[in-house]
């Protein structure tokens, strides 16, 4: 799971070769729609995201207030579709509100890592020599930690908190993203149009902006979509260990941690927050799997 950040690298790097014509959006969308599993996954994903955003309008309950007399009601109880948690709060409400943080902690680190890692990779790929060595070797060292251990170490040093989890996840995702960007830039640089641009006397900054960034964008996009599901699991895993939010803030991993106490009495209620982590990351994986197939020039 979360520890497999790096494992996707060889796959994605080799699979996502350069898109030839970036303006085939409509055709690609049709190709995507032909994959029924991917379409279903996308719908489920959209539903989860929308429900989490619309939580206050969907749920009549306060995620922080509960009636302890009604604690641990089973799934399907009257008025509480998914039952109640250990403090008697409506579980569905907590999951919807909690999903906001969980989803954010899956997406935000990847976006920041794409910006920072992509930037670093572009710089490293464009300039050869000492700059490249400095950047790439430093990132290699970060890369030689197992992801979850690195994240745990950083989170522990920074202290508990969801923002610190996001920081540590970002650091975990920077090296692989930078590596992809660097490889892509190196390949793009060999292309003729860059050489043409160089010989026409265009400035360095312009070249980077117009050609390189443009050309590696889709590759980074494909790769980073595969990482969101992984990041979500990494973040919820850290939360599960208690490194994330503090009570009473709802968050999927942390809720799972709290509810695991009653797994032997009411396993269903305990399992619910986990289902959401699982379904979301599975849907993300299916969608990104289809995306990389579709965006791959061969597909």
């Amino acid at each position: 799971m979360a520890t497999n950040v790096q494992s996707i690298v060889p796959d994605a790097a080799s699979a996502a070769s350069l898109p030839k014509q970036p303006s085939q959006a409509a055709e690609r969308w049709r190709a995507f729609c032909r994959r029924r599993a991917a379409l279903v996954a996308l719908v489920i994903l959209a539903a989860i995201v929308l429900a989490c955003i619309a939580a206050p309008w969907l749920s009549p309950y306060d995620p922080y207030a509960g009636n302890v007399k009604e604690r641990l009601l089973p799934v399907g109880s009257a008025g509480h579709l998914l039952g109640t948690d250990e403090q008697g709060r409506d579980l569905l409400t907590r999951i919807l509100y909690g999903g906001r943080l969980s989803l954010l902690s899956g997406i935000v680190p990847v976006i920041i890592a794409v910006i920072l890692g992509g930037g670093l990779g572009i710089i490293a790929g464009y300039f050869k020599g000492i700059i490249n060595t400095l950047i790439m070797r430093t990132l290699d060292i970060l890369f030689s930690f197992p992801a979850i251990l690195l994240a745990i170490g950083i989170s522990a040093s920074l202290g508990p908190g969801i923002s610190n989890i996001m920081i540590s996840a970002t650091i975990v995702f920077i090296p692989p993203i930078a590596r992809i960007a660097e490889t892509a830039v190196k390949e793009v640089k060999k292309e003729e149009y860059i050489e043409a641009a160089l010989s026409s006397g265009a400035g360095t900054g312009l070249i980077i902006r117009f050609h390189v960034v443009n050309n590696i964008f889709s590759r980074l996009f494909v790769y980073s979509t595969t990482q969101i599901g992984i990041c979500l699991m990494l973040a919820s895993g850290l939360s599960f260990l208690g490194l994330g939010v503090s009570p009473p803030t709802p968050e999927w991993g942390f809720m799972l941690n709290n509810l695991k106490q009653v797994i032997f009495i009411d396993p269903i209620v305990t399992i619910v927050p986990g289902i959401f982590i699982f379904v979301t990351s599975l849907a993300l994986n299916i969608v990104s799997d289809a995306l990389s197939d579709v965006l791959d020039s061969k597909g």
């Binding site: 922080y64 207030a65 302890v68 007399k69 604690r71 641990l72 250990e86 403090q87 008697g88 508990p160 208690g242 503090s246 009570p247 009473p248 709290n258 695991k260 106490q261 009653v262 797994i263 032997f264 009495i265 009411d266």
Partner: protein
């Protein structure tokens, strides 16, 4: 496509073999497991502790009083010990390695202890006056070669009143207190005596070779997994009926429940309350008893909002203790409105009990100048010794306090680190309003240890900085009074003052929920934090 058909066959066979293997293993496990566990358990008591670690088995074990309960008092004895054989009244002291003692009439600071003769440590070293002096030197004499600062530090509050000590003869020891002090015996119950030879021989590695005179002998210890003790056949007291006691640290309540249900352990401390009915119907013995113990918040009264008595009282009025005990904890606790519970000799009926009254709490907060409340941080444990089910209980309190305007940020840390933090006082580099830590109030010395000005941090465990001269006077009188009736009356007065001043938020009294397998016999659930394992048999 023909070539593939043979491949298919190979696949089918492999798959079949795999399934066969798996089912054999699983079914074999089912049977073999149950049988193996049953036979291993004969004469072996396996205890699921609530701590996350094996207590370090020095004379003041780590992991708080749970370490004392299962390791300290099993491996070692003190000069006096708790009599834990009765369940119908609070436990009292009895003779331990000292058979009898006298308190001098002419010099109220002088105590004479007549040692039990013929007692040997587990390594064969004879116990005598020199062993007692050695043990005291180890804790009280910084220039002694075997002085152990760490153990001394954690024994701290039991050492405060010992001024000097001397060997009178081979079997007699005299201890002098600094000033008349009637609680000395309670302090001595926490000072355990190790084999001097073992301490000398192993030095820094002593914790791997703990050697005492207790009912059980240390066998082995596997970090994070188990500590094994065997019965001491030559024990001077009741020789245990059990052959072996194994301790397992399982900090997660549901994991403890799983362990006792599957037969991996036959004794589990505080399982999830939700499981009580289920366990009873399965034939397990679910035990509870009142005992002097409290689950409070120790407030930082030195600075910040909690300096104000009204704020502290407000917090005490804000908590629905009945709801917590009945609804959240399924009756595994009783509400605490002062240090002791109703029915105890030191409970004061003069103090107005803190009822659940959020309006009064808000009014008090407004009077104190916090009409809109304030925010603060509470340091709380995640499990451990007497802390019950800290995560959900703290969230419950957080909700109640929030309702009156006190916005609490819960910072949970692992039990042994919380304990370390507690012994170091409130952190100086950040705002912490309270520490949630369960504390036993088994002995009269708990009062001065937690509340007297003399015990103000860093001299003692009064880490919140609470001080009340009137209380100091009463406690001083109590600890210099050698008449039990008078002492109890004074402590009752002290209870009333402490309740009124509210240096703590009193929440609940634990009922010491524990589960024993159906075949465990002869255990008395005492009105004490500790437990006597010698009478137990497995049939």
């Amino acid at each position: 496509m023909k070539p593939y058909s043979s491949l298919k066959k190979t696949y089918a066979i492999t798959l079949l073999l795999l399934i066969l293997c798996l089912s054999m293993v699983l079914s074999g496990c089912g049977r073999g497991g149950a049988a193996a566990e049953g036979s291993a358990a004969k004469g072996t008591l396996v205890i699921a502790m609530s701590a996350a670690n094996i207590p370090v088995p020095d004379t003041m074990p780590t992991e708080g009083y749970e370490g004392m309960r299962f390791v300290g008092y099993q491996l070692y004895d003190g000069l006096v010990k708790w009599d834990l054989t009765q369940g119908d009244k609070p436990a009292e002291l009895a003779g331990g390695l000292a058979e009898s003692w006298e308190h001098s009439n002419s010099d109220p600071t002088e105590w004479t202890f007549h040692l039990r003769q013929g007692v040997k440590f587990h390594d064969g070293t004879p116990f005598n006056a020199d062993s007692v002096i050695f043990a005291l030197d180890r804790l009280l004499k910084p220039d002694s070669p075997y002085y152990d600062a760490k153990t001394a530090g954690s024994t701290g509050s039991s050492l405060r009143f010992i001024a000097k000590y001397a060997k009178a003869d081979e079997n007699t020891v005299r201890i002098y207190t600094n000033g008349p002090y009637s609680f000395l015996l309670y302090d001595l119950a926490s000072i355990l005596i190790p084999s001097p030879e073992a301490v000398k021989k192993y030095g820094g590695d002593y914790a791997n070779h703990p050697t005492g005179t207790g009912p059980f002998k240390f066998v082995s210890m596997k970090q994070g997994q188990e500590l094994v003790m065997d019965k001491n056949d030559k024990y001077w007291g009741t020789v245990p009926k059990l052959d072996r006691v194994v301790l397992r640290p399982i900090s997660d309540p549901s994991a403890r429940l799983a362990a006792i249900q599957s037969g991996e352990v036959n004794w589990a401390e505080i399982p999830p309350t939700e499981s009580i009915e289920q366990l009873k119907s399965m034939g397990f013995q679910v035990l509870t008893n009142t005992y002097p113990h409290i689950w409070p918040y120790v407030l930082n009264t030195a600075d910040g909002p909690w300096k104000d008595k009204k704020v502290r009282q407000a917090a005490n009025y804000a908590i629905d203790r009945e709801g917590m005990s009945a609804d959240l904890l399924g009756g595994a606790s009783i509400p605490a409105t002062q240090l002791m519970y109703k029915g105890h000799a030191w409970y004061s009926s003069d103090a107005e009990p803190y009822a659940y009254d959020p309006d009064k709490a808000k009014k008090l907060l407004a009077e104190a100048g916090y009409p809109n409340g304030f925010s603060t941080t509470f340091l709380v444990p995640t499990s451990g010794s007497g802390n019950m089910w800290p995560v959900q209980m703290n969230e419950y309190v957080q909700k109640d306090l929030k309702a009156v305007g006190i916005d609490v940020k819960i910072e949970s840390i692992e039990w042994q680190s919380l304990l370390t933090q507690y012994l170091q006082g409130f952190p100086k580099d950040k705002e912490v309003g309270a520490i949630n830590i369960s504390l036993p109030t088994i002995a009269p010395n708990s009062f001065p240890n937690f509340f007297s000005s003399a015990a103000l941090f860093p001299k003692g465990l009064n880490i919140g900085g609470y001080s009340n001269p009137e209380l100091d006077r009463i406690l001083n009188e109590a600890q210099t009074s050698f008449d039990a009736g008078k002492r109890d009356a004074l402590l009752k007065q002290a209870s009333a003052i402490i309740a009124e001043d509210a240096p703590w938020i009193f929440v609940v009294h634990d009922l010491n929920l524990r589960v024993l397998a159906p075949d465990i016999h002869g255990f008395v659930q005492p009105q004490s934090w500790f437990a006597d394992l010698t009478g137990i048999s497995i049939e």
